[in-house]
């Protein structure tokens, strides 16, 4: 009882069931938590009291720095048991549960390839813009580098992200990266596409634009011209360096908030058209079957979604006490407005704190203090975006579609905490 009073004094009364604390706690408590540092005992040589890294020179400079070898478990996740022909056509996922903040290191950005990563000589690569335009034109990489640049932060999410959950009758016991890791966030720099479209002169009757990549799949997708004229970008840089081969070097189409597949990598051609091309990846794939047998096509925007990463499967609890619940939320429609957290399986909710900046169509980090009493709990996060769209429950999402559909899954993720502190994936 005395212990509970101390907790209340420090953190205030819980604001929702099972120990969720008010998000204001972050602002109030730092002084209360600061402890006094112990003074070190003096020795004849101070080296005796120092860590070994202070006693000899460290490693030499590297031309390109690498992460700490102490964290070399932080690797992208390749699906296991991949048949030989599919080693170049599948995906490798971002280990979300090991990362913080909102920017994914380029080397950990997820990759979804349709026939491998091409090795493109930028001096030989060109972008053709043609079709319903006044002046069909070719742009070299060097010429694009001379246009005014924009820098924006956006998420990228494969339309098939989390699709394994949609199709699985029983919850898979796998990490957040395994389940939701076709998701990454980057700072992108490049040329606003509308600048180039203005230059070539788009026919006002053009309503669609085909984007085609220079890979061995000739990946191609049709997108509405209004999107191309709005916030589309020819991205040349990612997180400050030239965009990496796996992400489309020397250039990719960036369509903020649209499904990853439409952000065509190794972009070589844009064709303005009066209707969609109906390519393989906008008919046989990236379409979603309803229970009535009709399929939705051109469902291009990624709806609001969130996932708690700490704790999550394999990121287990270490005994009762204070924890910070942390995760990411995002929406292809604009900014995240709020994220609600439940620790009692959805009975009660508390609003999480959002870490600034909260940017449109970008990953947003949320956090909430939590006093875990050591008992069973079910953690859930539910985001609402600035358009008022709310993440559906698992059952609500499933009811919209035919059995085993796996695109655009954005239902609430639930993690159960056992009395032993182990975290498991559960359906609520």
């Amino acid at each position: 009882m005395g212990k509970k009073q101390d907790v209340t004094e420090l953190f205030g009364e819980p604001v929702a069931g099972n120990g969720l604390l008010h998000r204001r706690f972050f602002l109030q408590s730092s002084a209360a938590l600061a402890g006094a540092a112990a003074s070190p005992a003096l020795a004849e040589s101070i080296g005796a009291g120092s860590p070994p890294t202070m006693l000899k020179p460290g490693a030499q400079f590297n031309a390109y720095g690498m992460p700490s070898h102490w964290r070399d478990n932080i690797k992208r996740i390749l699906a296991t048991n991949v048949p030989p022909a599919r080693e170049v056509t599948g995906s490798i996922r971002t280990p979300l549960q090991y990362l913080e903040g909102t920017i994914t290191p380029a080397g950990l950005h997820y990759v979804r390839n349709h026939n491998g990563t091409p090795d493109i000589d930028p001096s030989k690569h060109e972008l053709l813009i043609h079709g319903m335009v006044r002046q069909p034109s070719i742009f070299t990489v060097d010429s694009l580098m001379r246009y005014p640049m924009r820098t924006e932060i956006h998420f990228m999410e494969c339309a098939g992200n989390s699709g394994g959950i949609a199709g699985a009758a029983m919850p898979q016991q796998a990490t957040a990266g395994d389940l939701h890791g076709l998701l990454s966030g980057s700072e992108w720099t490049g040329v606003k596409l509308s600048t180039l479209l203005d230059e070539v002169g788009v026919d006002p009757r053009a309503a669609w634009m085909l984007a085609e990549g220079a890979d061995a799949a000739g990946m191609s997708r049709s997108v509405p011209v209004w999107k191309a004229m709005d916030d589309a970008m020819i991205a040349l840089y990612q997180n400050g360096e030239p965009i990496r081969p796996e992400q489309g070097f020397p250039m990719r189409l960036l369509l903020p908030g649209f499904e990853g597949n439409t952000n065509v990598k190794w972009l070589r051609r844009l064709k303005l058209m009066d209707g969609p091309m109906y390519t393989k990846d906008e008919t046989s794939r990236y379409t979603e079957l309803q229970p009535d047998g009709k399929a939705r096509e051109f469902m291009l925007q990624m709806e609001p979604k969130s996932v708690i990463l700490k704790p999550s499967f394999s990121v287990d609890m270490q005994g009762p006490g204070y924890y910070e619940i942390s995760g990411v939320a995002w929406s292809g429609l604009g900014r995240v407005r709020k994220v609600d957290i439940s620790a009692d399986g959805g009975k009660t909710w508390a609003e999480a704190a959002l870490t600034n900046p909260v940017l449109p169509k970008a990953l947003t980090r949320f956090r909430l203090p939590w006093m875990w009493n050591g008992g069973p709990a079910v953690l859930m996060s539910r985001t609402t975006d600035e358009k008022g769209r709310v993440q559906p429950t698992h059952a609500e999402w499933l009811a919209q579609y035919a059995p085993r559909q796996n695109f655009h899954f954005n239902a609430i993720q639930s993690w159960a905490i056992g009395a032993n502190g182990k975290v498991s994936n559960v359906y609520v």
Partner: protein, 222 residues
């Protein structure tokens, strides 16, 4: 590098001539002493802009008024023809040539069956291409070329650009027409004696032609 720009850029000099008030939208006077509250001090200090910052802001306004360069070069008809490999549902751009079901069966056995199976029923390495017609509204929907794809042109386009996986763009146009004819013949979407070419391919009626709802009008526009 800037020397390569062909014509002088149309710089708008008016921007730098604007008064600080015009740029800031509020008075830029130095505050008087004697604030009553700290909040008031903050408000007024915010309105005081050092000369160096004013120069920076004028430069920013200046840059925004520079028209972007026009560095694209005209694409020739030949360059466009080589790159424009996409085939829309109306068949525009389909190449000369033709292929029969019988020819397609041979090509399929030689180049496709290793991944897609002897009868296009699929393997772990390649999608099932046939069967499943009529299952889309059932509890066990099966999506294949036969049951799901709305246009035969999509099949021609995709095979021509991306198949076989290990040797894409290696098929002759006749072989592509033939393989499409063979795959579509398995579920009798075309007859067993069909010959497909630029005229007949776009006329093929796929079973699920009207099975899609265009979601684009429901997207949130800016």
């Amino acid at each position: 590098m800037f020397k390569e720009i062909e014509s002088p850029l149309p710089l708008r000099v008016e921007a730098v001539k604007k008064s600080p008030e015009a740029i800031l939208g509020r008075p830029a006077t130095r505050p008087r002493v004697g604030f009553r509250t700290r909040a008031m001090a903050r408000r007024v200090r915010g309105a005081f802009v050092p000369a160096a910052l004013l120069c920076l802001m004028a430069t920013t306004a200046f840059a925004a008024d520079i028209a972007p360069p026009k560095l694209g070069r005209s694409a020739t008809p030949d360059e466009i023809a080589k790159a424009d490999i996409s085939i829309p549902p109306d068949g525009k751009g389909l190449p000369p040539g033709s292929g029969s079901v019988a020819q397609g069966a041979q090509v399929f056995a030689a180049k496709c069956a290793v991944c897609h199976g002897a009868n296009a029923q699929g393997t772990p390495n390649g999608d099932r291409l046939v069967g499943g017609i009529g299952t889309l509204a059932s509890a066990n929907p099966v999506k294949t070329v036969s049951s799901y794809w709305p246009y035969a042109t999509t099949l021609f386009d995709y095979i021509r650009r991306a198949m076989p996986l290990t040797n894409p763009q290696s098929l002759q146009n006749d072989e592509d027409y033939a393989v499409v004819a063979y795959i579509l013949s398995i579920d009798n979407i075309v007859p067993k004696d069909a010959v497909l070419d630029a005229q007949s391919l776009p006329k093929v009626q796929m079973p699920n032609r009207n099975g899609f709802i265009n979601w684009e009008p429901r997207l949130i526009r800016p």
